[in-house]
């Protein structure tokens, strides 16, 4: 029985696009390895510098995942803003709850 061809025409892969995907992968991998080197090279709790570095590296990774893997970087401006602007509220939430956590810590008498 003849199989009907429902696949249509397969467009050959664009080498540049594939290379770009692996390039972003390499960047994410490199940042993750750097995080491990910092975590294991400077063991021990806290350290504002260490914490800030991890958060910045995480945000960079998040930026690459959202803009390239999820393609948001290439979408219409109105869509990009619809997603990014509400995240300002999350920044407020982080600040507010870190302050509250410290206040609770002090209220507990530590």
């Amino acid at each position: 029985m003849e199989q009907e061809n429902i696949d249509g025409n397969v467009i050959p892969a664009d080498k540049a696009k594939i290379r770009k995907i692996w390039k972003v992968t390499a960047i994410l991998g490199a940042i993750t390895i750097a995080e491990f080197i910092i975590a294991l090279g400077f063991p021990g709790a806290g350290g504002h510098f260490k914490t800030a570095t991890f958060i910045i590296m995480t945000l960079v990774k998040a930026g690459y995942i959202v803009s390239e893997f999820m393609h948001l970087g290439h979408e219409a401006k109105s869509l990009i803003y619809s997603i990014l602007l509400p995240c300002i509220f999350v920044l407020w939430l982080i600040l507010a709850l870190l302050l509250q956590g410290t206040a609770i810590f002090e209220a507990l008498g530590f």
């Binding site: 429902i6 696949d7 249509g8 025409n9 397969v10 467009i11 050959p12 892969a13 696009k17 594939i18 995907i21 692996w22 992968t25 994410l28 991998g29 993750t32 995080e35 491990f36 975590a39 294991l40 063991p43 021990g44 709790a45 806290g46 260490k50 914490t51 991890f54 958060i55 590296m57 995480t58 990774k61 998040a62 995942i65 959202v66 893997f69 999820m70 948001l72 979408e75 219409a76 109105s78 869509l79 619809s82 997603i83 509400p86 995240c87 509220f89 999350v90 939430l93 982080i94 709850l97 870190l98 509250q100 956590g101 410290t102 609770i104 810590f105 507990l108 530590f110």
Partner: protein, 239 residues
Amino acid sequence: MASSAIVVEEHKNLWGGGVEPMKVSYGKLMMWFFLLSDAFTFSSLLVTYGLIRFSHMAYEGPYESFEFSAAHWPLPDFVFDGLPLLHGGHYPLVFVGIMTFILILSSVTMVLAVEAGQRNDRVAVEKWMLWTILGGLIFLSCQAWEWSHFISGKDGGIGANLSINQYGPPNFAALFFFITGFHGFHVFSGVVINFIIFYQATTGVLARRGTYEMVEKVGLYWHFVDLVWVFVFTFFYLI
């Protein structure tokens, strides 16, 4: 004049209905909005983790003489240092590092599946979706091992449950279970959804539809799952 009249007409039509104002389909747009709401949920959980953690005493002694105690929040290096089959060893962050790489790689294979779908390359879509599903299953297995190791305990300790644990204050274990569990639930549902779309690709449903946009939409969900893990990994294991 005639030209300015046309410009006004276009603006009116952009939000007048019947067009896609943000240049994406309804399904994709709704997936983005769902992910935004889910991001808020996870942000709330993670920020609450920060609040609860910083209301506890931190360990301030030298790194080498760290001991588990309910009096201070534990150092992650000492809680998460096991590897399967290598009992009693101290390999801080190795296992979670492997898990992170696996999930990021599964995200990459997902991107490649989406790219193949845009070219109508059904065979490549199937291949990359299969790798993505495999990566998700391996991640879930790793997380299951992590949980069982955490619960059964280290060095003859009592292990952990929602009320009490050997590593530190009760909230430490409770938050670990809740946040990694909620994330793991998302990974599990992502694997199920990925499998359904893989199945639809193999049986020609997507080819007959004429578009592989469904792969793109579930791809967004899968990348979101990876994204959340990047944050969970940072806040639980690094900071």
